[in-house]
């Protein structure tokens, strides 16, 4: 068992070996304990400055990263595209280099373009954590999902996970597939034909277009959000939201017809009544809020382990 990560940046799950993922999850156990203390703060990163650079909207992820950084005593600066010079035509590299000139050690970035995090890591000295790049990857979400599954089942290997919904536009889906496969889980993608890209089969996952069959097969159903903002003016990949809900939405009637327990997950934000009904999202089968809670501990582990590779003067 290794005690250090094999990577300097977290750009995608591909950067991590199964051993790295295991180290992150074990370290997150320690931080989960820290978060249960009366004083939920440790000094590990007190000489580290982190910039959260968000070119795309985010509530949960950004808040979760910021809390994780503050619980580790890091100095935190926030930057969002809506209030910045990018609106005035500055390039990504210029924006980031300006921020780094102010001696930032670690950058957490969300960007609408796939590969933005990789580009940044190539051109800057700071450590980079990808907080979502287009439809490419969202590695910390996959790690916290794996952590939540491990917490629920005591292991990830052998657990059957169905990822349901808008696979096409989902970076969460891709990161999850890679992460779960590395940990030995069985993965199924389920959704309308139009929302599952053809190349998905090459990843070694099962594909289903029948939610009931998928639910009968799986131990965990990760219900993804339908990303209406990526479909233009109205639904472009299915006739109507109502039809989508009838075929791929999970409600109590459908759940009870299974006659077995399935753990329900959702990366948020939820469209209540579309991919999952309100009562199911709030039911005992759902671990959606545990996912959010675990997100802080898992992000603390990632930040801590990446910072461990830096020397005392900042950037190695």
């Amino acid at each position: 068992m290794s005690d250090t990560l094999g990577t300097q940046h977290l750009l995608g799950i591909d950067d991590l070996s199964a051993g790295d993922i295991d180290l992150i999850l074990r370290t997150a156990d320690g931080f989960k304990e820290v978060l249960a203390r009366p004083m939920r703060k440790v000094p590990s990163l007190r000489d580290i400055t982190v910039a959260n650079i968000f070119f795309e909207n985010s509530t949960r992820t950004r808040l979760s990263f910021e809390l994780a950084e503050k619980r580790l005593s890091a100095d935190v600066v926030n930057f969002s595209a809506s209030s910045s010079s990018t609106k005035k035509g500055e390039t990504l590299l210029d924006t980031v280099n300006n921020i780094l000139a102010m001696k930032v050690d670690l950058v957490v970035m969300r960007h609408q373009d796939p590969g933005a995090a990789v580009f940044l890591a190539k051109h800057t000295k700071a450590r980079v954590i990808n907080a979502g790049d287009g439809a490419h990857e969202h590695p910390t979400q996959a790690l916290l999902d794996a952590y939540s599954i491990r917490e629920k089942f005591g292991k990830v290997a052998g657990v059957k996970v169905a990822i349901v919904g808008d696979i096409l536009h989902s970076r969460v889906a891709w990161s999850n597939v890679r992460c779960l496969q590395k940990l030995g889980a069985e993965v199924m993608l389920c959704g309308p034909v139009t929302l599952i890209p053809k190349h998905a089969a090459e990843l070694g996952v099962r594909i289903s277009h029948d939610l009931d069959a998928a639910l009968r097969w799986c131990d965990v159903a990760n219900m993804l959000r339908i990303q209406m903002e990526r479909q233009g003016d109205g639904p472009a990949y299915f006739p109507s939201l109502r039809e989508y809900t009838m075929l791929f939405g999970l409600d109590r009637k459908r759940y009870e017809s299974l006659g077995k327990e399935v753990v329900l997950m959702h990366p948020g934000p939820i469209n209540r009544g579309v991919e999952i009904s309100s009562d199911m999202a709030d039911s005992g089968a759902s671990i959606i809020l545990q996912q959010v809670e675990n997100g802080v501990a898992v992000r603390m582990a990632v930040l801590y382990l990446l910072a461990a590779g830096m020397d005392r003067t900042g950037i190695s």
Partner: protein
Amino acid sequence: MRALPILTAPAFGLTVQRLCRQLVEDRGDLGETALVGLHPRGVYFSRRLRDELVKITGNDAITYGELDITFHRDDFRQRAVTAPPATTQIDFSVDGRRVLLIDDVLYTGRTIRAGLDALMAFGRPRSVELMVLIDRRFSRELPIQADYVGRAVDTLNGQRIQVEWLESDGIDRVSITREVS
């Protein structure tokens, strides 16, 4: 490398017993006391102390916890490995208690500094004292001293103190390993 034993059975066990009796002499039934062992190696000592104290006092409800200080270390970025944390288990309020921090070896004092820092995250103890099995004198880097000492030893910086416990290493023994020049 040559290992020179400096504490073996039965003196090892007698030392632990002496420390327990010293503690009882000072504090009576330990009602307000909380024993807190430091991971990774101090917990073998603290568990032994707890068991011994239960025998001596007859009080089997001694407040006991274990503390991992990994996230409070001041050198985590200089170490080759980032040891994954052991489990901290402090399921009582530290507020107002007389805490006894317990570790196997007191050397530079940095571990204890981190331990004090970590302990304060659980509240405001009335007092904190320190018990160690081995005190390596004249090697402190911080102004930290132990209140209860099993054995004080004088060592050179190139030497290492190794504490072995029956529970984990199959033998109760303290030895000095020295570099062969």
